[in-house]
Amino acid sequence: MTKKPKIGIFGLTSCAGDQLAILNCEDELLTIADAFDILDWEMAKTNNDKVTELDIAFVEGVVAQTRDLEALQAIRKRSKLLVAIGTCAVWGGVAAMKNQIPREILKKEVYGEEINVVDSVEALPVRSFVKTDILLPGCPIEKEQFLQIAASLLHGDLPELLNFSVCSECKMRENACLVVEKGEICCGALTVSGCNARCPSHNIPCGGCHGPIEEVHYDANYTMFAQRGITKEEIQTKMSNFAAPAWMGQKLLSEIK
């Protein structure tokens, strides 16, 4: 690209962690600001341009209220390319963990009986509503992957991320397998790589925060855990923490009930 791409960075309902992850590129931030024409980024600047057509929109968060959906549709309309950043935008994230519970009940639990002003809908990822061109999962996104994607886009290529599970990265870092040695519930074999196996490298089982790999082998995972006396329910509650809609698509959570 010869001209600076015009970009916007947006957050729907989320913890702002992915936008913060971009702000955390301290060494590259000024280069990013130089290479892209950042028109709209509420988290980092005032006076945001809300109308100009964008080459790329980065969107974080889930659609958890009608306001989010309106914002998302407006973003999609003005952007040529939409990059979903973060596990919320890609898979629903924690907010989608208990989509099976009706929102009315959730509202009552948290806000009490009498209040009924809260605008809340079933929390679903960005790609459930609009076309997403690039998916960058991660809770939060990994800085290196973001920079790699940004450089690819600047170069005019559609970025491509490797698609294998945390296990392989975990092995490359030469960690002792937590399933094999300690019988822990580790979501590594289900979860897409990118984090360089952060958790297992700290002796902590993977919680699945990057969301599932393309081809998850549920049965083999169950067998693996069953061999170690771990029940389906235990695995499913753990799996559902970050990408519940993906698992629910597999009709797994409904099996518990």
């Binding site: 957050g11 729907l12 309902t13 913890c15 702002a16 962690g17 992915d18 936008q19 913060l20 992850a21 702000l23 955390n24 301290e26 060494d27 931030l29 000024l30 600001a33 980024w41 509420e42 988290m43 980092a44 600047k45 005032t46 006076n47 945001n48 889930v62 659609v63 958890a64 209220q65 306001r67 989010d68 994230g93 924690v94 907010a95 963990m97 208990k98 519970i101 959730l106 509202k107 639990e109 948290v110 806000y111 009490g112 209040i115 002003v117 809260v118 605008d119 809340s120 929390a123 809770c139 939060p140 952060r198 958790c199 490298s201 700290h202 002796n203 902590i204 919680g207 509650t237 923490n241």
Partner: protein, 432 residues
């Protein structure tokens, strides 16, 4: 200005989260000042019901990306409180470091990337960098330092993974800590520059009245973000288990964030509240910074939150260096998280995170699954106070030009650094 006026600022840029200040001025009088929150609800207190004790902290961490370390640790402390787990000294030091890392990152981000551009008339750090490359670089480097600590201790700068109930998955190595110490020493000089810069900037005073402040009392005779007792500036000290007496939560119609009141009064938590209550414990360079920035204490000007953060920035760096020394003293043997028994119980955890006191409360069944939870974030506690300060400011400012009024209100709201996502986004002003 006695006409009905209406201005809409749907989003206030440069605050983490979504929100607006909704101010209505009717016939020269304030009819409404509301912090309106646009953030969708995520119902954390419900999400964790049925989850095992080991999974909670990584879920609630997602309340807020900016104080994720704070949420993680508060959650773990509440769990430990419930199961009567006693953590080791090394864990205590490491947790301290992690919290200071978060404070450094958060304060540097707020001061350098949000407040300074505001005060110097830029729309953000990126545009400010063209004229003030040195200042922006210092801020970014301090922010990076904070992140480095979090990355090293927490395993990740945002949503730490290494901290677990009972300890840590992996302890940093000697060489890693040595390296960090060198960088902290450099950071100390940089933070001096920030204090210097702020001491030259005069912040307006809109005649704020004396407020109520609340903060944790340090366990020992030193400035700290940890404590077992809550002190409110009316002179009462309560154990953290009585946190509901301090922050009585109420749901307000205009916001998905709950607001907290103390004795039906708004109150303040956060850096300024801490400085007002605990400043006597400051030592070293932080004390020098305090003397430079706060000739009079306590301060009732919410804009001084920025000064307070600058003081804490220095303190956190100094204390981190000290903690590393302690860690060296106790050595580097591998230490597994503490083993414990699970039983039906309740527990509270409280930590002074950058924006104020954070409370987590859980009730567990005998399998260690959550049956009830309550999370009270600092921003929720501060919201009512922000509104109160705004009312005060509007009174003083109403006669002035409209854009001054608007930007002043935004400045006040921003001073609180309302990480809205954790409670809730920011300012919309309507003049009716």
């Amino acid at each position: 200005m006695d006409k009905d006026r209406k201005i809409v600022v749907p989003h206030l840029g440069r605050v983490e989260g979504h929100g607006g200040i909704d101010v209505e001025i009717e016939k020269g009088d304030i009819s409404k000042v509301n912090m309106e929150i646009f953030e969708g609800s995520r119902f954390y207190e419900v999400l964790i019901i049925g989850k095992k004790y080991s999974e909670i902290s990584s879920i609630v961490s997602r309340v807020c990306g900016i104080c994720s370390a704070g949420h993680t640790l508060t959650s773990q402390m509440a769990t430990e409180n419930a199961f009567q787990i006693k953590i080791t000294q090394r864990t205590e030091f490491l947790r301290g470091l992690l919290l200071h890392g978060e404070a450094i990152e958060s304060h540097a981000l707020h001061l350098g990337c949000l407040v300074l551009p505001d005060l110097l008339g830029y729309d953000g750090p990126l545009s400010m960098a063209k004229d003030y490359p040195k200042e922006v670089t210092i801020a970014l480097n301090l922010k990076k330092l904070g992140n480095k600590i979090q990355e090293l201790i927490g395993g990740r700068a945002i949503h730490p993974i290494n901290a677990v109930v009972g300890g840590f998955g992996k302890c940093p190595s000697k060489t890693q800590l040595e390296q960090l110490k060198i960088e902290l020493q450099k950071g100390l000089e940089m933070s001096d520059a920030i204090v210097d810069l702020f001491s030259k900037i005069k912040l307006p005073d809109f005649n704020f009245k004396e407020g109520i402040y609340s903060a944790l009392l340090p366990k020992e005779e030193r400035y700290s973000y940890l404590g077992d007792y809550i002190y409110t500036s009316d002179g009462i000290t309560r154990p953290i288990s009585e946190f509901r007496k301090v922050c009585h939560e109420k749901v307000v119609a205009h916001s998905t964030a709950k607001q907290s009141l103390y004795n039906n009064q708004p109150f303040m938590v956060g850096a300024l509240a801490r400085i007002n209550i605990n400043h006597k414990y400051l030592t070293g360079k932080a004390k020098e910074a305090l003397d430079k920035l706060f000739p009079i204490l306590p301060s009732h000007n919410p804009l001084h939150i920025n000064y307070a953060q600058a003081v804490e920035l220095v303190h956190s760096i100094e204390r981190s260096i000290q903690l590393i020394k302690f860690l060296f003293e106790i050595g580097f043997e591998h230490e597994e998280p503490v083993q414990f028994e699970v039983f039906a119980s309740k527990g509270v955890g409280a930590i002074e995170v950058p924006r104020g006191t954070l409370y987590h409360y859980y009730e567990f069944n005998d399998k260690g699954e959550v049956v009830e939870a309550d999370i009270i974030t600092p921003t929720a506690q501060n919201l009512a106070n922000v509104e109160k300060n705004m009312r005060e400011a509007v009174k003083t400012l109403m006669q002035g030009p409209l854009n001054t009024l608007q930007s002043s209100l935004e400045n006040i709201a921003r001073a609180y650094d309302p990480c809205i996502s954790c409670a809730t986004h920011l300012v919309r002003i309507k003049f009716k």
